[in-house]
Symmetry: C2
Subunit: 431 residues, 2 copies
Amino acid sequence: MRALILAAGKGTRLKPFTTVKPKPAVEVCGIPLILRTFLSLKGLGIEPAVVVGYRAEEIRKILGEGVKLIQNNDIERGNAYSVLCAREEFEREEKFLLLMGDHLYTPEFLSAASRAPPGSAIVCRENDTIAIDEATKVLAENGKVLDIGKGLENWTHIDTGAFICRKDIFDLLDEIFRNKRSFEWSEAVKMANMRIYEVNEPWTDIDTPEDLPKAEKLLLRSLIKPEDGIISRYINRRISLNITRLLGRFDVNPNHISALSFLIAIISSYLLLSGSYILGGILVQVSSIIDGVDGEIARLRFRKSGFGGFFDTLLDRYADAFILSALFLSIPFSIRNFILYLFALTGTFLVGYSASTFKEAYGMRAERLEGKLRFIPAKRDERLFLISIGSIVGYFTEFAIPVLFLLLAAFTNLRVFGRLLMAGGMEKSTS
Amino acid sequence: MRALILAAGKGTRLKPFTTVKPKPAVEVCGIPLILRTFLSLKGLGIEPAVVVGYRAEEIRKILGEGVKLIQNNDIERGNAYSVLCAREEFEREEKFLLLMGDHLYTPEFLSAASRAPPGSAIVCRENDTIAIDEATKVLAENGKVLDIGKGLENWTHIDTGAFICRKDIFDLLDEIFRNKRSFEWSEAVKMANMRIYEVNEPWTDIDTPEDLPKAEKLLLRSLIKPEDGIISRYINRRISLNITRLLGRFDVNPNHISALSFLIAIISSYLLLSGSYILGGILVQVSSIIDGVDGEIARLRFRKSGFGGFFDTLLDRYADAFILSALFLSIPFSIRNFILYLFALTGTFLVGYSASTFKEAYGMRAERLEGKLRFIPAKRDERLFLISIGSIVGYFTEFAIPVLFLLLAAFTNLRVFGRLLMAGGMEKSTS
């Protein structure tokens, strides 16, 4: 599928930002709105073209060479005219995705929106990231758009500025502009008798300068992975997202962040080995938090790569081995301690390993099917948190480290065993 | 695509086997020829139908319920008539795969053959598994079948009994049988002006009782995986394939073989721990050989499953950890020994782990791209062989175990590091 992004308008309300740059060029987390939409679409395999008009050169500069730009030479005729300008380029497409260039869309939103049937206005439910006064509302009846506009008294949904158009929209617009000089797209939506299609993935519109921090927050929150462990979700992400917010403005290489997290893990291993349990334990948790930043920046700045994931996974496993081994060497050697350490280490490796093998065998993430198994703390964020706490307690009592190993061994191997049972169950249900 | 399997003929030459059963019912490695072809096609997503005639009930019994059988009530009219019998069932297919029910085809052969363009006779080059006197030869010119038959003096290829037919073949056969009472398919191939398409994956025809052991060998050799390590290829498979040949006649559960291999690894760990280096070392290698049998039987008897692979991988990792840890505990504790052990264990885990993560990231097996990296002995068969040798040497000199750890640590971590460099290189070549 192809997408048409409207970026010809003036967007005067976002002053003072827009005295400096047109609204689609406004940056959130270091990347202009329109570039984010553009790169997200590319990542989804959707080929975008952009209608430009007002300060077209600046938009062109942001998007770079090799982008299909469509010129609207008369932006006073309303944004419906921008759509009509794309007739020649899009009239052979059975359907296409229409988007507003000055909205903030996440890849999750665009992916869901692209699955709507032809002739759909993508809408969402009211939510706290949308300034309701400024929002374009939709009144739907029997699944159809009955009315649309900012000033509606009665309304059922919020317009997201995304539509899946059929090619016959161009005939309608031709007809309209035969009689009118200027026309708004929202009026055309009403006339086209579009169906509504609800998508509640994150997106937002930026109308006033006050909306910018809210948009940033929305974008950062969308970086949290659904398969995150409990510690990551409730502790680590609160800090790592703030680091990402600061670093995200610069062109940081996510692999350097992975390396930094690894380096901190090495230092903490050295500290634990030499008996500095409190500082070592704290640094373990710091390393764990930094370990979230690489992925966040990669997704935020479209720097996700196969190599990055591979590199991060390998470094994490070495770090895990070093931290556990440092703790093991810091306590007196005994067969009991060694066995606890061995099972903790093996289980640690197998949690990630089994996730990877599970995905290979069944084509989906084990985490999605784990149900109550998810509450066994065995993922990396949870393990490192346990190690951090265990090490700090270890400063006060020598039993803490063997107990820590015992807990890690039990949790990790139980979770792996649970996945094995799960795999056995899947086999039965399909055969 | 659909496939049509011809199994209506008498196949008298394979006596004494065929006095007992029709030729497609002859078993190789415990599975009748036609059932193997049938299950292989199913595994490739190709839906087979079977033309039956001579002793149709026996074929029906082998294939079970739910199979589309087409009756040929006059098998004296030649096998071209069997194809015509399928007209009603197949004339709406643009193309279909035609196969001889009494040949032995491997899934690799069928997969390659199914990719031939419509109107192709699948041929192969002369090779040592085909009895050239009995084979149907093909004389090709400019990529077309000029002549085909057993008695050809001049020929260029061997007929495999596999064809990709266009639906217009039925019109030709209708035309032929308007004038003839009996007609052979090979004559029809000539008249249809088919192109040749070369496939050299393993298949064979069984003409005489002497061909049976050869067919069995061909089938067993086809179970060797292309990504096998050196030890597996040159030592383990020679033994494991013989075990599979014996066990393959029974309906053995491959997961039980995985469990047996694990059990032997546990026993060998116990022996190594208690200083029985020679017996322990031998059992490590025995466990490694048995570890090949589960996969062979799974592929041979169509019992491959996601669970089986997952179960085997997990057991292998625990076994690896136990064997290395037993060796570590069998020597005096020192920091040097511990560090060598730690890197050997971590590297051991990461060889398989990185293969799995690599496949997740790049959608292909790391082994396929490894080039010279493949010569670093780090895969499981190679590691266990090193451990086996190292343990036996360890009976004579106490330095053997630390040296073994050093070698394992170096080889495994080097191979993982090589994969990381490879991933970095791929990133550059695609960006």
